[in-house]
């Protein structure tokens, strides 16, 4: 009776979209190492859609799996669609998370949203800088 189901394990063992985007349009960082989990999301936007999503994560198996799943769910979505990705939806796509690890799905959705907000606020203020 493993703590994580197969889907979670798959995303932990073979995480999708790991990395940074050097010229990202938006970056979102949540959590901090003191709490045990920290995620940084990088996005590329084209025509209001997430053309590319990458992440780096410090954290437990669930944190890594969640990051991977969020990146997969987000890719190709419009910004507004992507912002609507809920922690619940992430956990559901992972076919469930242990109770104590649910907060990881929170962090993942938050980090993505933060990256999108970062992009949107940059656009509003004009320039594309970090």
């Amino acid at each position: 009776m493993p703590v994580y189901n197969e889907k979670v394990m798959d995303h932990f063992m073979n995480p999708r979209n790991v990395g940074e985007i050097a010229d990202a349009d938006g970056v979102g960082e949540v959590g901090n190492p003191v709490c045990g989990d920290m995620m940084t999301f990088y996005i590329k936007v084209k025509d209001d859609r997430l053309e590319d999503v990458k992440f780096k994560t410090f954290g437990c198996g669930a944190a890594i799996a969640v990051s991977s799943m969020v990146s997969e769910m987000a890719k190709g979505k419009t910004l507004e669609e992507a912002k609507k990705i809920t922690p619940r939806a992430v956990a559901d796509q992972l076919e469930g998370l242990p109770k104590q690890k649910f907060h990881c799905s929170n962090l993942g959705a938050q980090a993505l949203k933060k990256a999108i907000n970062n992009y949107q606020s940059q656009k509003k203020t004009g320039g594309k800088k970090k």
Binding site: V34, F58, C60, I64, Q100
Partner: protein, 395 residues
């Protein structure tokens, strides 16, 4: 795939001899030790034989041994039972900051009952300074409880020195020897303590059984009320098979002590030396010398312990990250924090605890498997990329 169990601090495998010793009591000799007929006699004989064996391991009198249902129960009985029985003397209890939760949370319960708890700090190696204990003692100190060895970082505490101080002050001194007994010498005479807890599943005995030794004459309040088993100090039908197993494990530990330490120490030392040599930014936790013979613990920078654990598991290697019972909790180990390790670094805790089944090949396998795992997780880690960027920038 090679299978390497290196989580003996969480629990050890059962020795075949121990299992053999248990089998009659899972078979024909199934009586209740309180029963006065032949069936009861057989069971009682098993319990009393085990009592003598456990007493033999720690140099105690058999009648001073109380069997419990776990190490945790032994610690609860010691901390609550001794403090409550001594409360006429005072309501002050001293523990170290790195005790197991079964001691710390028992102390917290005592606090609810009007006791005052003082925590003795430890140094960066997890060592208690006996002088700190001396300073913290009060007229109304009813009990001191400091562990013989810590299960998370392996550090062995200067129990005999502390005991000299408590003895002079006539304050009862309990030591949680659950991580130590059966692995290193835990002779109650040499330690000079007044009470000592141990657990079978830490030295190749069964789960579901522990023991508390309490020096004759020292009063103890039971925490499980009921029948008059264990001299009225622990009610409940005895777990005869597990007790018989604990006894056998104690006898074997006593016999093989020197051999086991000799076998484990060099393996442990290789890990302690070579892992930090092979992987940058890995620190050994716990004391460099005064540590359990099979205990190699580290903090790995920039990555998190559970993730390492899971990847090692995928390669057939069992380890832990912090103590087993907190591994599913979320917080950084209170032990590492008490040693002054940062929360961030403490997240990267990883713990290899060797047992008598381990070989040099197991260590080779770990030394070969671990670096790519650390590397893989660091490639994912935003902390590591910040670090590498900063180093490059610094150059």
């Amino acid at each position: 795939m090679r299978k390497v169990y290196l989580d003996n601090a969480a629990t050890t495998p059962l020795l075949p001899e121990v299992r053999e010793a248990m089998m009659p009591y899972l078979g024909d000799v199934f009586g209740n030790p309180s029963s006065l007929h032949d069936w009861g006699d057989g069971a009682r004989e098993a319990v009393e034989t085990a009592r003598a064996q456990v007493a033999g391991l720690i140099g105690a009198k058999p009648e001073e041994i109380i069997f419990t249902g776990s190490g945790t129960e032994a610690n609860n009985l010691a901390v609550k039972g001794l403090a409550l029985a001594q409360q006429a003397k005072g309501k002050h209890v001293v523990v170290s900051a790195i005790e197991h939760f079964s001691v710390l949370h028992s102390a917290r319960t005592l606090e609810k009952w009007g006791f005052e708890i003082s925590e003795v700090a430890v140094d960066k190696y997890g060592l208690v300074d006996p002088e700190d204990v001396r300073r913290i003692l009060r007229k109304d100190t009813a009990l001191v409880s400091i562990m013989q060895a810590n299960g998370e970082v392996g550090t062995i505490e200067p129990i005999a020195e502390i005991a000299r101080i408590t003895k002079k002050r006539e304050i009862p001194f309990h030591t949680d020897a659950i991580a130590a007994a059966g692995t290193i010498p835990s002779d109650v005479g040499e330690l000079g303590v007044d009470a000592l807890s141990l657990a079978g599943n830490q030295f190749y005995g069964p789960k579901g059984v522990g023991a508390l030794w309490v020096r004759k004459g020292l009063r103890l309040m039971p925490i499980l009320d009921g029948g008059i088993q264990e001299g009225g100090r622990r009610a409940g039908t005895e777990n005869v098979a597990a007790i018989a197993g604990l006894g056998k494990a104690a006898a074997l530990a006593r016999n093989d002590a020197v051999k086991r330490v000799k076998q484990l120490t060099p393996l442990r030392d290789r890990l302690l030396k070579e892992l930090p040599a092979k992987i940058e930014r890995v620190v050994v936790t716990g004391h460099p010398q005064n540590r359990l013979p099979g205990h190699a613990s580290f903090c790995v920078e920039f990555i998190e312990g559970e993730a390492m654990l899971m990847l090692l598991n995928s390669q057939g290697i069992a380890v832990s990250s912090g103590s087993a019972c907190t591994s599913r909790a979320l917080k950084a180990s209170h032990v590492l924090i008490a040693m002054g390790i940062s929360h961030e670094l403490a997240q990267g805790s990883i713990l290899f605890t060797l047992g008598i089944d381990n070989t040099a090949q197991d260590i080779d396998y770990v030394l070969e498997t671990m670096p790519p795992i650390v590397d893989r997780l660091r490639q994912m880690s935003p902390l590591y990329s910040k670090f590498t960027k900063a180093s490059k920038g610094g150059k």
